[in-house]
């Protein structure tokens, strides 16, 4: 177990910067998930920690040692690859024993360690079987075992569940969580699946285009997304984001949604008149038909274009009346909504997020609402209760 620090780590391929000034400190035993879309640099970052990619600038520190220039073998890290990377010509036993044999451990010790790991991962019955005759879950466990058998200080996993079918993925995900609880090895886990990130991580690092957008607990990432990218990327479907012009007036009234925002909340640029837009965000699961919302909230009229029924719930797709912005609402299955109808949806004001129209960054403070005027306000100083 060791602490991991990435200090201003940058990776260039020619002129292209694929990871840009990555700063992260991972505590001993912490489970960190690097989450982002394909090509965002998360796997490259992981590979730089492993030593499989060189670092263009910055430092990788494991424990107290700067390992930036050292070989992968000396970093004491174990890694599980997306396709498991099992040696196809070796049995499960030989795969598990590979690292120990390469380091010339005595045979008795190799056998003992393999038996121990096989017992822990329930692989005892398949030790003499080659990978092609193993099931997906068994392959996955052999790959895990091979990475764990040397008792590495840091455990790296690069989308280890992506080759499994949906049911097996859920099961293995739970097994991974339980394994981490038992072993408490510092873990960096790469995925583009937010479900994995939210359920496994102590902290999630949301990345895009080689840069970190937000680092936080799964709850923080979900409840208080740092910007519009995180807001839209986290959640299935992602947050509804509507950009509006700010009308003249002290409070900065937003068209159509009947939303008002305290000018104190704006970045400097908006107050001087250069920024004229705001992004209002509401998660689909926080929108309900207005008739069911009892607390003060934001209301919007939508024209229903498509209803996707999933049995447990339904996704209602449509457009905001007047402005035409797309809107998705996740509603209980029993609510009857027909395509082509107009519906008024509403969300509890505490579930409404505001972002800068120019930078996409979250606007600080809480959002409040003037119940008497049915307007929404954002306030830096007054958390709730209106003005």
């Amino acid at each position: 177990m060791a602490e991991v620090r990435l200090e201003g780590v940058t990776k260039m391929y020619g002129e292209q910067k694929v990871v840009n000034g990555f700063e992260l400190s991972v505590a001993e035993g912490e489970f960190i998930v690097l989450l982002g879309p394909s090509g965002c640099g998360k796997s490259t970052t992981l590979r730089m920690v492993a030593g499989l990619e060189s670092v263009s600038s910055g430092k990788v520190v494991i424990g107290d040692t700067d390992v930036t220039q050292t070989s992968p073998a000396t970093r004491n890290v174990g890694m599980v690859f997306q396709n498991y990377a099992l040696f196809p010509h070796m049995t499960a036993f030989e795969n598990l024993a590979f690292g120990l044999r390469a380091r010339r451990l005595p045979k008795a010790q190799v056998n003992e360690r393999v038996a121990e790991v096989a017992r822990m991962l329930e692989l005892e019955s398949v030790l003499r079987v080659r990978p092609k005759n193993l099931s997906g879950g068994q392959r996955q466990r052999v790959a895990l075992g091979r990475a764990l058998i040397r008792k590495p200080a840091v455990f790296l996993m690069d989308e280890p569940l992506s080759n499994l079918d949906a049911n097996l993925r859920d099961r293995v995900r739970m097994e991974l969580a339980s394994l981490h609880r038992r072993l408490a090895i510092t873990t960096l886990y790469v995925t583009h699946d937010q479900g994995e990130a939210m359920t496994l991580a102590d902290r999630v690092v949301v990345m895009n285009a080689g840069a970190i957008h937000q680092v936080g607990t799964p709850a923080e990432i979900y409840e208080e997304p740092a910007d519009t990218f995180v807001a839209h990327f986290i959640g299935s479907p992602g947050m509804n984001l509507w950009k509006f012009d700010i009308n003249a007036g002290a409070r900065g009234v937003v068209d159509s949604l009947d939303v008002m925002v305290d000018p104190g909340l704006w970045p400097e640029s908006s107050r001087t008149g250069t920024e004229r837009e705001i992004v209002v965000g509401v998660r689909p699961e926080h929108l309900e038909l207005a008739e069911f919302v009892e607390v003060p909230g934001v209301r919007a009229a939508m024209e229903v274009e498509l209803v996707e029924r999933f049995g447990s719930h339904q996704l209602v797709h449509g457009k905001l009346v007047g402005v035409g912005h797309p809107i998705i609402a996740r509603m209980p299955a029993e609510v009857e909504v027909e395509v082509g109808t107009l519906q008024v949806v509403a969300a509890d004001v505490r579930r409404v997020h505001l972002f800068s129209g120019s930078s996409g960054e979250r606007l600080g403070g809480k959002i409040a609402m003037d119940a008497t005027e049915s307007k929404i306000y954002g306030s830096v100083d007054e958390p709730w209760g209106g003005r």
Partner: protein
């Protein structure tokens, strides 16, 4: 309880028809005709230039047959008996076997070594240039390169002896020596054919997933360990292919021997028949000594030898080669 499926008032069961699989249904028949029509140019060429000559060769190996005489006489196994009673034929088999036995390991080891070197040392930007440089000799005509090698092996002013002299080693008579003529041919052949095998090995190496080598480096495996435990086993299908190819090419080696040891003006296979391989003797028997039936029998024996070796290698490969 029976369940009737209905859709818009029509019983679905009524509409389900068993699928007909008869190939002579009009659509499938015309498909088959089209397929054979498209294949026919290749099939005709293959039939005329492969099956007909092979069949004719087998046929005349059991006859007394001359290219200018219309008369043919069935002689049974006499041609084969004659061959096995001729010391020159037996020696040619021995020479071919010696040539093959040396060439196979030399080819495989050298080609693999060059491929590993190209893969590891050469940068991606210049990789194409180096690969082209290694492959270039293979696309140059054998006869042309063999003539150059004749100059290189010239005892008086050849480069080979210049190198030996530079290294303080005794000069050799090369193509004029009973002991060194065949090794000289082997060196030429190795140089000429290496590019092909290197490219095949490079393709095999490129097929080994990068992650496997990365796992090995993470697990602390030495380069030797990686080569022995990962690269060699995963490369075994490629190695097997190269061995088969090298075996066939070695047993059939002709042009370089013909050019380097005598050429059209006589004496090919010398000195003292030391470079007379089975395929060279077959040519000489047919076109110099005009014994077509004997030459056909020799070719048939050569074919059977190569077939037997290939089958043995296949049998061995089942135990040694790992297919993913």
């Amino acid at each position: 309880m029976s369940l009737s499926l209905r859709s818009r008032g029509t019983n679905v069961e009524d509409k389900v028809q068993p699928v007909r699989r008869s190939w002579w249904r009009p659509s499938q028949f015309s498909e088959a005709i089209s397929a054979y029509a498209l294949l026919s140019p290749a099939l005709v060429v293959f039939f005329l230039f492969f099956f007909v000559p092979t069949g004719f060769l087998i046929y005349i190996s059991f006859f007394h047959w001359g290219i200018l005489s219309s008369a043919t006489q069935f002689v049974g196994l006499k041609n084969f008996r004659t061959l096995f009673s001729q010391p020159l034929f037996l020696r040619s088999i021995e020479t071919s076997a010696y040539y093959t036995i040396v060439m196979i390991p030399a080819t495989v080891m050298l080609a693999l070594a060059v491929a590993m070197l190209l893969r590891e040392v050469v940068t991606a930007r210049r990789g194409g240039v180096w690969r082209a440089a290694v492959f270039l000799p293979h696309v140059t005509p054998v006869v042309a390169t063999s003539i150059i090698w004749v100059w290189i092996f010239n005892p008086q002013f050849g480069l080979a002896n210049a190198v030996l002299t530079f290294l303080h080693l005794p000069a050799l008579n090369w193509l004029e020596s009973v002991h060194w003529a065949l090794p000289a041919v082997m060196i030429d052949t190795l140089w000429h054919s290496l590019g092909l095998y290197v490219i095949v090995f490079l393709a095999g190496l490129a097929n080994i997933p990068r992650e496997l080598l990365e796992v090995a480096s993470l697990e602390g495996a030495s380069r030797r360990h990686v080569f022995r435990r990962i690269i060699l086993p995963l490369l075994s299908p490629t190695t097997f292919f190269v061995v088969i190819l090298a075996t066939v090419n070695s047993w059939q080696a002709f042009s370089q021997i013909y050019t380097m040891t005598g050429g059209p003006h006589g004496g090919a296979g010398g000195p003292a028949f030391s470079t007379t391989t089975d395929s060279l003797l077959t040519y000489q028997t047919a076109f110099i000594y005009d014994h077509f039936s004997l030459a056909a029998a020799m070719a048939l024996i050569l074919f059977l030898i190569i077939l037997a070796l290939t089958l043995i290698q296949k049998w061995v490969s089942n135990r040694l080669v790992f297919y993913r």
